[in-house]
């Protein structure tokens, strides 16, 4: 009897120990995947960025800050970094201005139309970025659809430059990123209690006041997380700037690509990539902290 009890107890202790380890065991596959596909390449890139470079042999052993001095000291790269950040900012602002009202209008639609339009809004995500951007290239060209239409209608003096311009890149990036803003704002709109708006109306608020004073403050967290996603995607976008911006209008991602595959200066390319990562992360964390502190109390 006693032995049985002891056996039983030790079994209990074992399941307990197992229970404590279970979360780690269960998260192991994901951890391994992350380590293999994200941490290791990232660490290798960081190591690479501190290596020397020789024009004839490529990357060679050694430790230097030279690549970072090149990347941060060269006005050529300053221009590229500033261009990347301003393209990302412009894209984010436009996505807020287009995506947030779009999500609100969608949420106010009647049932059959609401799901149809939501699918239409999100359907660009089903098509490859490259294909979508090539579509924009067809529209944007000197003899593209937009300029051809304008010429046929006799509007404006000659073709508007769109291809290989910053605003062209921004337009294409906004198209690619708006669905992410819509999803994010949509999710926060779904959490709202419609009776809160009704209560505000019964207290004398007009539709416009209800939106401005009641709905908008409650969906700010959604706009915030949406703009973080859009900013990160836009700042590190490669395909769209490569196709619309071309060889001339470089952003950080495309110039990293050029360093790796064009001039074959891998260490410098790695250094640029690391700087972009740090700048990107700094901007996002600061933005997040600022807005979160402001709106933390309202997020439930």
């Amino acid at each position: 009897m006693l032995r049985m009890q002891r056996f039983f107890l030790s079994g209990l202790a074992m399941t307990k120990a197992k229970g404590r380890n279970a979360p780690y065991v269960l998260s192991l596959p994901a951890v391994l995947l992350f380590a293999a596909l994200l941490v290791v390449p990232l660490a290798m890139t960081v190591v690479l960025s501190f290596q020397n470079y020789d024009l004839n042999t490529g990357a060679i052993e050694g430790f230097t800050f030279g690549n970072y001095l090149d990347a941060l000291g060269d006005p050529y790269y300053h221009t590229i970094f500033l261009r990347t950040i301003s393209i990302a900012c412009a894209t984010t602002i436009l996505c807020i201005l287009i995506g947030a009202p779009e999500a609100y209008i969608l949420s106010r639609m009647q049932p059959p139309w609401r799901s149809i339009f939501l699918i239409v809004t999100l359907s660009p995500l089903l098509i490859s970025v490259v294909v979508r951007t090539l579509g924009w290239a067809l529209l944007f060209g000197r003899n593209g659809v937009i300029n051809a239409t304008l010429a046929a209608l006799g509007i404006g003096g000659g073709p508007i430059p769109l291809l290989y311009t910053t605003h062209g890149v921004v337009i294409a990036l906004v198209h690619v990123s708006v669905p992410f803003m819509v999803i994010s704002v949509w999710a926060s709109l779904q959490r709202l209690d419609p009776r809160v708006s009704k209560a505000a109306m019964s207290l004398g608020a007009s539709e416009a006041t209800v939106f401005r004073r009641i709905i908008l403050p409650q969906i700010i967290p959604g706009v915030l997380s949406g703009s973080l996603i859009v900013f990160a995607l836009a700042a590190s976008a490669f395909a769209t700037p490569a196709i619309i911006g071309g060889r001339q209008l470089k952003v950080v991602a495309t110039s990293t690509y050029d360093e790796f595959l064009g001039t074959l200066n891998w260490p410098l390319g790695a250094a640029i990539a690391v700087v972009l990562l740090v700048v990107n992360a700094t901007i996002m964390l600061t933005y997040n902290n600022l807005l979160e502190r402001r709106y933390a109390r309202s997020t439930r």
Binding site: D193, V196, K198, A199, S202, L203, Q218
Partner: protein, 359 residues
């Protein structure tokens, strides 16, 4: 003088008729309950009064003014929802002052009025908190304060206490009633909880399938329900089916199965000889005796349930199952399986027509 008059209100959603002719007149300062099962149209009625929905036909007249076409934000009604519906991004004080802000009241005055309203619900110490920091009961009191701060022409309560636990709900019933007495605002409360309606309302409109079945004060409603539906929905009742043997003056004679003597019951004039009727009996108005022959009906106790302050006995009789409630005074007087006699005062039995009466 009627504060609000509702005339033959009809509301259809597609082919579904939610309201099928509601007539209701409420006097100034009255606390009216709309009581019924879900889908009976009580919330629709409230939404139409508040202006959140438009009636298909019929009129709502407030202080002699037809409310047709007046939007919700111009109706000056204080509304309290089951989900509290506080503004999560505003402090309690800001929540309560919102309606006053909409009326463009200067800041010092509206802060004073908001404080007074919070004082009324005894929450002035929580003015700077946010809604999510408050308990359910506190949030509901804030919702009441917010609705009353604008000094509304009417207070509309939509299942205000349904999200609270039983004990808190009883406390809030008393408090809600006390607040309403103090401010004297005409109030309409929607509820599916008959105990809540009995405890708080001056008059109760029992609703079923888009109609008002009975409109009466709680005592009348409980003691003299006019339909089988009202009798079964409000309070517990046992229903015995029978036929009328004869009608004489205001008295009908029935013969219940299992009963030796014919039974005389006060009957409304529309009952005729041979009509099928239901005899509704309240559990606490029935008494049991240990000797079956002394009762009006013979039966057998099939189960007994201890409810703390009282015992509920379930008695099987030839005429039907009867519930009996007796106060708990020490050991129960009857055992399960024991034959018992069932009796009641003839005046305490309500004679009702079978099925719902829709005239």
């Amino acid at each position: 003088m009627s504060k609000i008059v509702i005339e033959s209100l009809v509301k259809r959603f597609g082919t579904f008729t939610a309201l099928n002719g509601i007539d209701l007149s409420i006097t100034q300062g009255e606390f009216i309950g709309l009581l019924g099962p879900s889908g009976c149209g009580k919330t629709t009625t409230l939404n139409i009064i508040a202006g959140f929905e438009e009636a298909t036909s019929g009129r709502v007249v407030l202080d002699g003014r037809d409310l047709a076409g007046v939007p919700a934000n111009k109706r000056e009604m204080g509304v309290v929802f089951q989900s509290y519906a506080l503004f999560p991004h505003m402090t309690i004080a800001e929540n309560v002052a919102f309606g006053l802000e909409m009326r463009k009241m200067p800041r010092p005055e509206r802060e004073k009025r908001a404080r007074n309203a919070l004082d009324l619900v005894r929450l002035e110490h929580l003015a700077d908190r946010y809604p999510r920091q408050l308990s359910g009961g506190q949030q509901q009191r804030v919702a009441v304060a917010r609705a009353l701060a604008i000094e509304p022409s009417m207070l509309l309560l939509d299942e205000p206490l349904s999200n609270l636990d039983a004990k808190l709900r009883e406390e809030m019933q008393v408090e809600l009633r006390a607040i309403q007495r103090r401010v004297g605002t005409t109030t309409v409360m929607v509820t599916h909880d008959q105990a809540e309606a009995l405890a708080t309302c001056d008059r109760i409109a029992v609703m079923d399938a888009g109609r008002i079945v009975q409109l009466a004060d709680p005592l009348t409603l409980y003691d003299s329900p006019n339909t089988q539906f009202a009798a079964s929905f409000v309070g517990k009742s046992s229903q015995l089916f029978s036929d009328i043997v004869s009608v004489e003056g205001g008295t009908a004679t029935l013969s219940l199965r299992g009963s030796d003597k014919p039974l005389s019951v006060a009957a409304a004039p529309w009952f005729t000889k041979g009509a099928e009727v239901v005899l509704a009996l309240r559990p606490e108005k029935i008494s049991l005796t240990a000797s079956p022959s002394e009762g009006m009906l013979r039966g057998k106790l099939i189960s007994r349930v201890f409810q703390g302050s009282s015992w509920l006995f379930v008695v099987d009789t030839p005429a039907g199952t009867i519930l009996v409630c007796e106060l708990h005074r020490g050991a129960p007087a009857f055992a399960e399986g024991q034959p018992v006699g069932v009796s009641w005062n003839a005046a305490d039995a309500a004679l009702l027509p079978v099925g719902a009466r829709h005239d």
